[in-house]
Amino acid sequence: MKIITGLGFILIFIGIWAMLTRKNMIKIVIGFSLIDTGIHIIMVSIGYIKGRTAPILNSAVDKARALTEVVDPVPSVLVLTAIVIGLAVTALLLVYVVKLYKYKKSMNIDDYGELKW
């Protein structure tokens, strides 16, 4: 699981790099989305326990011994919440991109210098 956690941090790294260096606004939104995915992977890998199954107590899992047979359900819950919020925020960012493109007909973030100091 150490490898999976490391891969999650690599995804966050790529996302931050994309947000800082890319000029195209769609690519900046993609960088945000990559950070989101990396955080989800890290959270899931924290809750994973080797050799166990999903936290659903159907016929495959003995209910009396469930404590030693299922993975941690709490990180899964947090990731489920985070995915929905990430989806909403990504949609909002894309709408900002659409609005900015209508305003100046440019995708380059350098053309929008109003917030510079």
Partner: protein, 226 residues
Amino acid sequence: MGKRILIWIILALFIYISLPFISDFIPSHELSYVSQKYVTDGPKEVGAQNLVTAIIVTYRGLDTLGEVVVLFIATAGIGFLLSRSRGKKKKRRESSIILQTGTKILFPLIIMFGIYVFINGHLTPGGGFQGGVVIASGILILLLALPDNPLHEFLLSFTESISGFAYVLIGALGLVVAAGFLDNKILPLGKFGQLFSAGAIPIIYSLIGLKVGAELVNILKHLKND
């Protein structure tokens, strides 16, 4: 040039702060204290087979209500930003016959699958959020196939507001009938593992599914009209 050096310094600092998380990472061998309580007491207290659903809808139900509110605010923001260009009607090209025929076959199946996913949220993997997204993808294929906006505006906003209102109402009913806000024991728990079990969880998750579906369809509608 100075900007690029600064960016790489920031990235190096990010690697520096994240290295301890990777090198000192110890994989867990048993459940954390809170999860132990959820796993042992969850089937008795909540009666849901899927423990993730039990935590989302009942134990942490207030967080889920907040999450739905965040989704609603994001949708409202999108609607606010994209509502200006309503006036001019663009002539759109007809979609191809393959897309139109495929939509007629697939659309009912996708909607049915979405409803299946959120009704069985307490038994199998899935639930309101996933089912809502599946329903929104079904409406997306409809929006692609029919170039004029075919959506019933009133039905869409009616579904959204009634499902959100009923969600809060069921939660408040728990204050009166059962132990607290969003308690699922306002209905009998039923037999563990059956469709009609786990008290109010199937109803609450269906309402969440309808609300999420309606809100995502709203986002798609605004993005298409623009």
